[in-house]
C-alpha cells in the first residue's frame, strides 16, 4: 500500500503543482491588497474577502487531494454521464437559480452559493474527450462535426440564457482542441480573422481596416507569388493613385473628399483592380490568387455589413450596449470608465510597481470588480512590469507544461482532455489580462487561480488535477 502511494506521489507532475501553488498564493495576496481595509488588517480575517479567499484556497487543496485519490479510469468510463449531469445542473439553474449581480446563474444551498456555469468547462472537456476518443470517431465527417458542435453549443446556449455571456464565449476555446485532433486549419484561422475584423470595423475608421486587409493580402501574395516585382508594382501603383489623384484634383481646386469619404475612394479605386486580377486569375487558373481575392472581397463585405448593421440598423442605445459589452466606448467618464481606470492603474505601476499595499488606483473603488475580474490591475499597479510579466510567464509555462502532459498520454482521452484544460486556461488568461490593458473586449471572466471567488478557483483546480491524476496513472 505504502509503496503504491509513494509511486503515485512520485508520478505527479510537480512542476505543474508548484506553478499552481505559486499562482494561487499570488491570488491571495492580490485579493488582500485589492480590497485592503486598514480596519481589518489581518490577511486571515474571514469577514473580508481575503480571509474568505484563504478558505477557498484550502478548500481547493482538499478538492485536489480528493481528485488524486479517485481512480483516473472513472472519467473515460463515466464521461457521458458527467456531461449530462453538467447539463442538468445548468438547467436546474434556469429553474431554481438566484439572481446575483445581474446574472441569474447561481444555485444556493443554504450558505453555499455555487455557479454551475463556471463548472461547465470541466463537463464539456470530459464529454468532448469521451466522444472524440471513441475508436470510430471521425472529425472530418459530418456526423463527427455535428456531434462536437452540439456538445459545445448546447451548454453555451444554456449559459447565455443565464446572462453569463463571458462564460458562454469561453467554450469556443475548445476549437483549439478540435484543431489538434484534425480539424482543418483554415476553420480556426477564418474564425479568428473574422472576429478581429468584426471588432476592428466597430472600433476603427473603415479605411484603416481596408488598408490592413490590403497589407495582409500583399504580404501573403509576396510569399506565394512567383513574380514578386509584379506584386510590388501593383500595390505601389494602387497606393500612388490613391494619394496622387486627390492631390492633383486639389491642385485643380477640386476637393475630392468633399463629396466622398476616404474609404469610398479606396473602394472606387480597388474595384477595377480586383476585377482585373479576378479575370487574370480565372484565365490563367492561378489558384492562390483566386483564394486571396475571395478572402479580400469577403473581408470587405464583412467590414461593411458590420458597419452598416451597427450604424444604420441598430438604435443608439443598442449601439451603446454593444460598445459597452465590448468595452470600446471612448467616453472615459461613461462606460469606458472601467477600462480607462484599469489602464491608468496598470500604467502607473511602471517598471517595478508601487509596492505591496501601496497601490492607490486599485483601492477605493477606482477600479470596479477589483478583486474578481480586474484583479490583474492590482498586480500591475503594485508589482509593476516585473510582477505582471512574471504572472504572464507563469501562465505560459503552465500552458506549455499542460500541452506536454497532454501529448504524453497513451490514451486519446487523456490527450483531448489535456488540450481542453489548456484551451480553457488560455482563453481565460488572454481575455482577462487583455481586457484590463485594453487589448480584448471587456468580457467578464475571471483570471484563473488568482481572481477572488470559490467557483472559479475550484473549477480550475478540478480541471488541472483531473489531468494530473490521469497523467500519474498513465501506463
Amino acid at each position: 500500500m505504502i509503496r503504491k502511494e509513494d509511486k503515485l506521489v512520485k508520478k505527479l507532475d510537480w512542476w505543474t503543482i508548484a506553478t499552481y501553488i505559486v499562482l494561487v498564493l499570488i491570488g491571495w495576496i492580490s485579493v488582500f491588497s485589492a480590497v485592503y481595509d486598514p480596519e481589518h488588517g489581518q490577511i486571515f480575517d474571514t469577514t473580508q474577502r481575503y480571509g474568505m479567499q484563504m478558505i477557498w484556497i484550502l478548500g481547493g487543496w482538499f478538492l485536489a487531494a480528493v481528485v488524486i485519490l479517485i481512480p483516473a479510469r472513472v472519467y473515460p468510463l463515466l464521461s457521458n454521464m458527467i456531461y449530462v449531469i453538467g447539463l442538468l445542473l445548468l438547467l436546474a439553474v434556469l429553474v431554481f437559480g438566484v439572481e446575483r449581480g445581474g446574472s441569474n446563474s447561481w444555485l444556493v444551498f443554504g450558505p453555499v452559493h455555487f455557479q454551475p456555469a463556471e463548472m461547465t468547462k470541466v463537463f464539456v472537456a470530459i464529454g468532448l474527450a469521451g466522444v472524440m476518443s471513441r475508436p470510430h470517431f471521425n472529425l472530418r465527417s459530418w456526423r463527427g462535426i455535428m456531434q462536437v458542435t452540439a456538445l459545445i453549443l448546447i451548454p453555451a446556449g444554456l449559459i447565455l440564457l443565464e446572462k453569463e455571456t463571458g462564460l458562454a464565449l469561453v467554450l469556443f476555446a475548445f476549437i483549439i482542441v478540435l484543431y489538434r485532433e484534425g480539424l482543418p486549419g483554415w476553420i480556426p484561422v477564418t474564425g479568428i480573422v473574422g472576429i478581429v475584423l468584426f471588432l476592428l470595423s466597430i472600433v476603427w475608421d473603415p479605411q484603416y481596416v481596408l488598408w490592413l486587409c490590403l497589407g495582409i493580402c500583399f504580404l501573403i501574395a509576396l510569399l506565394l507569388a512567383p513574380g514578386k516585382m509584379t506584386v510590388i508594382i501593383t500595390l505601389g501603383s494602387f497606393t500612388a493613385l490613391w494619394f496622387l489623384v486627390p492631390l492633383v484634383l486639389k491642385w485643380l481646386s477640386i476637393d475630392l473628399f468633399a463629396s466622398m469619404e476616404r474609404y469610398q475612394w479606396f473602394l472606387l479605386l480597388a474595384a477595377p483592380l480586383v476585377l482585373t486580377l479576378a479575370i487574370v486569375a480565372f484565365r490563367k487558373r492561378i489558384a492562390y490568387l483566386k483564394t486571396l481575392l475571395l478572402c479580400f472581397v469577403s473581408s470587405i463585405v464583412l467590414i461593411f455589413s458590420v458597419g452598416y448593421l451597427f450604424n444604420n440598423i441598430l438604435k443608439p442605445h443598442q449601439q451603446a450596449r454593444i460598445e459597452t459589452l465590448l468595452g470600446i466606448d471612448k467616453d472615459i467618464y461613461g462606460s469606458g470608465y472601467n477600462v480607462h481606470q484599469s489602464k491608468v492603474a496598470i500604467g502607473s505601476g511602471g517598471f517595478a510597481g508601487k509596492g505591496f499595499l501601496q497601490g492607490t488606483q486599485t483601492k477605493y473603488n477606482f477600479v470596479p470588480e477589483q478583486s474578481t475580474d480586474f484583479i490583474f490591475c492590482s498586480i500591475g499597479e503594485e508589482w509593476g512590469f516585473l510582477g505582471a510579466c512574471l504572472v504572464i510567464f507563469l501562465y505560459t509555462f503552465l500552458l506549455i507544461r499542460i500541452v506536454r502532459i497532454a501529448e504524453r498520454q497513451r490514451h486519446p482521452f487523456g490527450r483531448i482532455y489535456g488540450y481542453g484544460v489548456a484551451s480553457c486556461i488560455f482563453i481565460h488568461v488572454f481575455i482577462n489580462i487583455g481586457m484590463t490593458i485594453g487589448v480584448t473586449p471587456v468580457i467578464g471572466i475571471t483570471l484563473p487561480f488568482i481572481s477572488y471567488g470559490g467557483s472559479s478557483l475550484w473549477t480550475f483546480t478540478l480541471l488541472l488535477f483531473i489531468l494530473l491524476k490521469m497523467d500519474a496513472s498513465n501506463d
Binding site: 484534425g182 508601487k354 492607490t360 501562465y395 489548456a422
Partner: protein, 620 residues
C-alpha cells in the same frame, strides 16, 4: 504504416502551432504591458499617490424668452458644498455651523452619514450641503482654509426675472431612481426638467455635460490639468427657446387672478399661439429655484399648486357650451336664426324643470345667446337629439358627439407641455351604460344643453372654443413654443382643424356674443360689464353648477369682432355668476392686450377685481 506516420507528423506540427499560438498571444499581452508601463507617458503618474480627479462641468440650461424677447427663465449660479471624506481632518464645527446656520446635532448626524458611506465614496467628493446662499458661500470662502476636505462646486440653477406662474415653465429637480432607470443617458446627481416647458423641451434645454480631468496629490491639491486637457470635454449649453407667451400679459393676468382659484387661457386665434396660460393658485416661481427644499410644503398646500388647472381640470363648461349646441342645431337644420322659443322662468316638461332667470319671452336665436336662456337650448338640444332624420336617439347622440369632438372637446388638443387631459365627452355608449340601451331619452340628458351633466372641459378647450368662434369655424393646435434658437429644423407641430359646422352658421351666434356684451342697458344682455370702449368684444358668460360650493364663474370671449387678435377663456371656481367674476378678468386682459392700458372709465373694475378675495370660500 506510412500514412499513419504522416498523420503523427502532422499532429506534431499542430502541437507546435498551438504552443506557438499560446506564446504569441502572451507576447502580445507582454508587449502591450511594455507600452503601457514602460513607454507610454499617458498613464504614467509621477507621485505614487496621485489620482485623477474628474470635475463635471454642468452645461447651462437653455434660456426661455417670451414672444417679445423678454426673459422668462434664466440661469444663476448656485453653490454646493462638497465633502471628500478621505481628506477630512477635525475642524472647528462651531464656526462651520455658524457659517451655514446649522445646529450642532444636524451637522454631526450628516458627518456620521458620510462616514458610514466612506468606503463607497473612496477618493471622490460628494455633495454635503446643497445650494447654499450667496452670503453663506462668501463667508465660507473666507474661512475655507480651516475646513480641509470641504470644497465648493458651482452649478447653474434657474432664476426668474419676474415672478410668474411656475406651472408654465415647470421646475428642475434632481433625477430620481425611477427616472434614471428608464433614461440611461442620465447619471445620479443630474438635474432634469419636470412638468411644464422644462419637461417637454428637456431634450433641447438640457445641453450636454462636460468634464475636466485634473491630477491631484494626497492633499487634494490640484496639481495640473491631466494631459493638458486632451481628455477634457467641454460642456455644450442647452438651446434657448422663444415661447409664444406675452410676459406682460401673463403677469397682468396673474395679478387679476390673485386670491382666486381657477384658470385663464388666452390664445392668438389666427395661429394657435398661447398668449397666457395661468393656473391659480399656482406654483410661485420663487419656489422653483430650489424646488427640492420646498417640495413638502407645496405638496401639503390644500389649494394644490402643482395641479395645472388650465390643462388638467375637467370643469362643466356651463352656459358657454350653448354656443356649441346652437351651432350644431344650425348645421343640422333643426334650428333657424328666426326660430323663437318661449321661456317661462325655465323649461318645463312633465315633472322636469330646468330653471332660468327672468327675461322677455319668446326670443329668437341672437337674443337667446345674448340673454343666455336655458329653456331655449333645452328646446335646441331636444330638436337635435329627436331629429327624425336619424333612426334612433343613439344615432343622433353619436352625431352630436362627433360634432362636439370636432370642436376639440373630449380630446387632447396637443399643447406642448406634459399632463394635458382630454376632459370628458359623453355619447351613446356612456348613456347606454348608465341607463341601459333604449332606456334614456333626450330629456334624460337635457343638462347637456346648458353645459352641465356628464360633459367636462379644460380651460384650454374653452379658450380654444373662443378661438373657433373668432375664426368662424376652425382652430390651430394651441402651442407655447415658437422657435428654438440654433435649431432651424424645429418648428411647432401645428395643425389646422376645421370644425363640422359651416362658417356661415357662425355669424348669427357671433352676433349673439356681440349683443351679450354690447347691447344697450335694459336689453337683458348678460355681459355688459365686459364692454371695452373702442374695442369690439364678443363674449359669452357661463355659470356652472358646483356641487362643492358656490357656482363656478365662466367667461369666454374674443376681440375685435372682425379680424380677431385674441381669444380668452376664464374659469373661476366658486366665483358665482359668470358676469360677476370671470367676465371682468377676461375683458381687462383683452383690453390690456389690445390697447396696452386700462381705460379710466374701467379703473374701478380693475381695482374691484384686484381686491376680490375668494380664497376663503375654498379654505373652509
Amino acid at each position: 504504416m506510412s500514412a499513419g506516420g504522416s498523420i503523427m507528423e502532422n499532429r506534431a506540427r499542430q502541437r507546435s502551432i498551438i504552443v506557438a499560438f499560446f506564446i504569441i498571444c502572451m507576447i502580445i499581452l507582454a508587449g502591450r504591458l511594455v507600452f503601457l508601463q514602460l513607454i507610454n507617458k499617458e498613464y504614467k503618474i509621477t507621485a505614487s499617490n496621485n489620482v485623477l480627479r474628474y470635475e463635471i462641468i454642468y452645461p447651462s440650461r437653455g434660456l426661455i424668452y417670451d414672444r417679445n424677447g423678454n426673459t422668462m427663465v434664466e440661469n444663476q449660479f448656485a453653490y454646493d458644498i462638497l465633502i471628500t471624506p478621505r481628506e477630512l481632518v477635525s475642524f472647528d464645527t462651531t464656526a462651520f455651523c455658524s457659517i451655514f446656520n446649522l445646529d450642532r446635532e444636524r451637522l454631526e448626524q450628516m458627518l456620521e452619514e458620510v462616514h458610514s458611506r466612506r468606503r463607497t465614496i473612496g477618493y471622490q467628493s460628494v455633495i454635503f450641503l446643497r445650494q447654499v446662499s450667496n452670503q453663506e458661500y462668501t463667508r465660507f470662502l473666507e474661512k475655507s482654509y480651516k475646513f480641509q476636505g470641504f470644497s465648493v462646486q458651482t452649478r447653474s440653477v434657474r432664476s426668474y426675472p419676474s415672478e410668474i406662474c411656475g406651472n408654465l415653465p415647470g421646475y428642475i429637480i434632481e433625477a430620481d431612481q425611477s427616472f434614471l432607470d428608464s433614461n440611461p443617458e442620465y447619471r445620479p446627481g443630474d438635474y432634469i426638467g419636470r412638468t411644464g416647458l422644462e419637461e417637454f423641451y428637456e431634450k433641447w434645454l438640457r445641453g450636454e455635460k462636460g468634464y475636466s480631468i485634473f491630477l491631484r496629490d494626497v492633499h487634494n491639491r490640484i496639481k495640473s490639468s491631466y494631459e493638458d486637457g486632451a481628455y477634457d470635454k467641454t460642456a455644450v449649453p442647452g438651446k434657448d427657446m422663444v415661447t409664444t407667451i406675452d410676459l406682460d400679459l401673463q403677469r397682468f393676468g396673474e395679478e387679476l387672478m390673485r386670491n382666486k382659484v381657477g384658470s385663464v387661457v388666452a390664445l392668438d386665434p389666427s395661429n394657435g399661439e398661447v398668449l397666457t396660460l395661468i393656473t391659480s393658485t399656482g406654483l410661485s416661481s420663487q419656489y422653483l429655484t430650489n424646488f427640492g427644499s420646498y417640495y413638502p410644503q407645496v405638496i401639503a398646500d390644500p389649494l394644490k399648486p402643482l395641479f395645472n388647472r388650465a390643462i388638467m381640470s375637467a370643469y362643466p363648461p356651463g352656459s358657454v357650451f350653448k354656443l356649441v349646441n346652437g351651432l350644431i342645431g344650425l348645421q343640422e337644420g333643426v334650428l333657424k336664426p328666426e326660430t323663437r322659443y318661449s321661456c317661462k322662468m325655465g323649461y318645463h316638461a312633465g315633472s322636469l324643470t330646468v330653471g332660468c332667470h327672468s327675461h322677455p319671452s319668446p326670443i329668437n336665436l341672437v337674443q337667446s345667446v345674448m340673454m343666455s336662456c336655458n329653456a331655449y337650448y333645452c328646446n335646441v338640444l331636444r330638436s337635435i337629439l329627436d331629429n327624425p332624420a336619424y333612426g334612433s336617439i343613439g344615432e343622433s347622440m353619436n352625431k352630436w358627439q362627433e360634432y362636439v369632438k370636432s370642436f376639440g372637446f373630449g380630446t387632447r388638443l396637443g399643447i406642448d407641455i406634459p399632463g394635458e387631459l382630454s376632459g370628458s365627452l359623453p355619447g351613446t355608449a356612456l348613456y347606454d351604460k348608465i341607463y341601459g340601451a333604449g332606456r334614456w331619452r333626450s330629456l334624460t340628458v337635457i343638462s347637456l344643453s346648458i353645459g352641465q351633466g356628464e360633459i367636462g372641459a379644460t380651460p384650454l378647450q374653452l379658450a380654444n372654443l373662443a378661438a373657433i368662434m373668432a375664426n368662424r369655424g376652425h382652430y390651430y393646435t394651441p402651442h407655447l413654443v415658437r422657435e428654438i434658437r440654433e435649431e432651424p429644423s424645429f418648428s411647432p407641430r401645428v395643425e389646422r382643424h376645421q370644425v363640422m359646422v359651416a362658417p356661415e352658421n357662425f355669424e348669427v351666434i357671433v352676433e349673439g356674443m356681440y349683443q351679450a356684451v354690447n347691447a344697450p342697458a335694459g336689453s337683458g344682455a348678460t355681459a355688459r360689464l365686459a364692454a371695452i370702449p373702442d374695442v369690439v368684444l364678443c363674449g359669452k358668460t357661463g355659470t356652472a353648477q358646483n356641487p362643492h360650493g358656490e357656482d363656478n364663474s365662466v367667461f369666454i370671449c374674443f376681440a375685435p369682432k372682425d379680424d380677431p387678435k385674441i381669444a380668452v377663456a376664464v374659469y373661476i371656481e366658486q366665483g358665482g355668476f359668470g358676469a360677476s367674476q370671470a367676465a371682468p378678468v377676461a375683458s381687462l386682459l383683452v383690453e390690456k392686450y389690445l390697447t396696452g392700458e386700462i381705460h379710466p372709465s374701467r379703473q374701478w373694475l380693475y381695482e374691484r377685481t384686484l381686491e376680490q378675495d375668494l380664497l376663503t370660500r375654498h379654505l373652509q
